[in-house]
Amino acid sequence: MTPYSSEHLLHVLHAHQQRFHYISDQAICEIATRLHLPRAQVEAVTEFYAFFHRSPRGRFDILFSNCTSCGNLTLMQQLCDRLNVCMDQTSSDGLISISQTSCIGMCDHGASALINGLTVTSLSEQIIEEMGNLIESETPVSAWPTSWFQIGNNIRKEGLLLTEALEPGAALKAIAGRSSDEILNEITASGLKGRGGAGFSTGLKWKLCRDAASDSRYVVCNADEGEPGTFKDRILLNSHADTLFEGMTVCGKVIGASQGYLYLRGEYRYMLDALLTTLQNRREAGLLGNNVLGSGFDFDIAVVVGAGAYICGEESALIESIEEKPGIPRIRPPFPVTSGLWGKPTVVNNVETLVAAAGIVLHGHHWFETSGTWQSKGSKLLSVSGDCARAGIYEYPFGVTVAQILEDAGAEDVQAVQIGGPAGRLIGAESFTNHIAFEDIATGGSFMIFDTSRDLLAVIGNFTHFFDHESCGFCTPCRVGTTLLKNGLDKVCSGHGTAHDIDELQRTAALVSRRSHCGLGMTAPNPIRDGLKVFPQLFEARLLHQEMEPEFNLDASLEEARSLTNRDDAEAHL
């Protein structure tokens, strides 16, 4: 197994997209033949992922983040105007295409974008102007100022995990000679729960997987950090990759797996080379591959890179994606621990969980469980962004209050905080005394601050548009419901809403969260529901005070008929 398979469908399509700027019908046939895959599967995958296109994109393909923290669409418009192109339309000479994309995980770096898949951060009007010049002169991206592509860690506060610089192999040496049960007991005793947001006990997950009857098992690391406002895994992948791979290897040893996968989000492709180098170094040091550290245990890790699909952060969708399919969540149960990758028992853990697991087996469970609260052991990495003086990564023991974080980040006049991303919770000042913990406010790590200068309805609108865009389209409640929520909220935001529309929003929100197939749909109405609960006055202030307002402009709807019949009489208007 090569660490980055050039034969994986997602990787083949990526290479093709980079070279030819789109995936033609002919290319789909050729790729299907070459990879021995059904043509329909290649086409479905091409259509599913946002970074693959069926019509030509520009030689300079620019995707501006539309996240509330790392997006700035004014700058996007500036570049469109500068180069005289419209959003989503490739220029006729094939030079440039400009579009939006969901959060690219650069929320601590200001306005950001992807240029031919590479991340540029800290955009400003001046940089956009220079970028316009470079594009016009067709200067290849490799010759652009390297300073634009610098991505720092911005670690503001270190705790258990971040102060720790694990010597490569230290955790593996610590478990040498210990049985699977002993290691599992250590993990379970530490009280470690999944860091992706759901908070399932890691020890139990590993045990269930190990005890499931099968001839082979897999370890998968979920590095598809797509929740807007989250960028903690980026820091761990950048500076703690060795520890992460160590954690995966420990898990492999415990459950009896010989192959692990790191599923890296497409937006983090810039880290791929460094990750592959780390893997190679570990292989050469005998920490991966056949007979790890002479223990007779074989384990290797491969990297699969996604292509712009938030839904692939859902574990079963992620598994489908590794299996070269569209990232549509599976029906659960069976859960991945019994039937995961290729139907085999699979542990899917978040980056932070595996890094913590490596630390726990090295230092023992006391090291971990003395931090945090009774029900939430250890520490949590928070990605703090938005309206504050010091955006970045903060590692706190569980139990820290929201107010403390706001103070440390230098946030003033705070109106609201979105915790756990759009799928999480929106809270107002009355909840700032609450704690970050599984038993109080649980979070995958996103912490977005909005001060009183923000139009909070626009923020909620941004999140609602995000879910509409990212719904995979598999189930009707989510596919149709997220669009209805978007249209309904847009109507209210634009000042055309009535009390009836609020009722409809509430009703649709309840239906979508209750009837959707997976977590995306179940959480998609959260921004609207929290908004209506915590900030009802913001909605109320925008309402028209009448019973019902049509969903579209009736008179404008007759415009085409008027022009076709040349009529403009009284009856030709509504």
């Binding site: 009736l554 007759l558 008929a561 040349n566 509504l574």
Partner: protein, 193 residues
């Protein structure tokens, strides 16, 4: 599909001994009205409790203040919008009847094309068209760019699904309202396969 939703339960007004019902077909095929009449002799019992205002059944042209308005069909032109608004202004309860009223149905199939394409196909390009021109007499209501379900323009209180809804469903929803209950259709009446 939207199901019956909870609204204020209808009660018979004291001033009028009978409950007044109006019906209309907008962009529809009158199939829902035909299905309504399929209640056969049960309509005799119904008429002991209700009287009809504007309806194709009696050819009354304008809606008087009513208790219940049954709307068949989608919105495809300006006249449909005027009629619908007249119903909303005059009826305490509006019921969207059938697939077209609820989600556009067959008339909404033209939404896949522009209005220009539709009119040119019908009045200019079709084989055998005599004196090709797009009709523009002021008596003819103008078509909307797209066909819309009625809840996009007025508040709808209840939805009676089906293409058409079976006669039993009409009897059930009217009986529930007449007896002062929140209408509820059993699953058999909502199953079409």
């Amino acid at each position: 599909m939207k199901q019956l939703k909870k609204r204020e339960v209808f009660t018979v007004s004291e001033s009028s001994p009978k409950v007044r019902v109006a019906t209309t077909s907008l962009a529809g095929c009158f199939g829902c009205h035909m299905s309504f009449l399929d209640m056969d002799e049960r309509i005799v019992g119904l008429l002991e409790h209700v009287e009809f205002s504007r309806s194709p059944i009696n050819d009354i042209k304008h809606c008087e203040p009513c208790d219940i308005g049954l709307i068949e069909g989608a919105l495809c032109n300006a006249d449909n919008v005027h009629v619908l608004k007249e119903f909303r202004d005059n009826c305490k309860i509006i019921i969207a009847v059938g697939a077209c009223a609820i989600n556009g149905g067959v008339p909404a199939m033209r939404n896949h094309f522009t209005l220009k394409e539709c009119l040119e196909e019908a009045f200019l390009d079709e084989i055998g068209v005599d004196n090709p021109h797009i009709p523009n007499d002021v008596e003819i209501p103008l078509l909307l760019n797209k066909v819309h379900p009625i809840h996009e323009v007025v508040k709808v209180d209840y939805y009676l699904p089906g293409c058409p809804p079976p006669a039993d469903a009409f009897v059930k929803i009217l009986t529930d309202l007449l007896e002062g209950r929140e209408p509820s259709l059993p699953k058999e009446m909502l199953h079409y396969d």
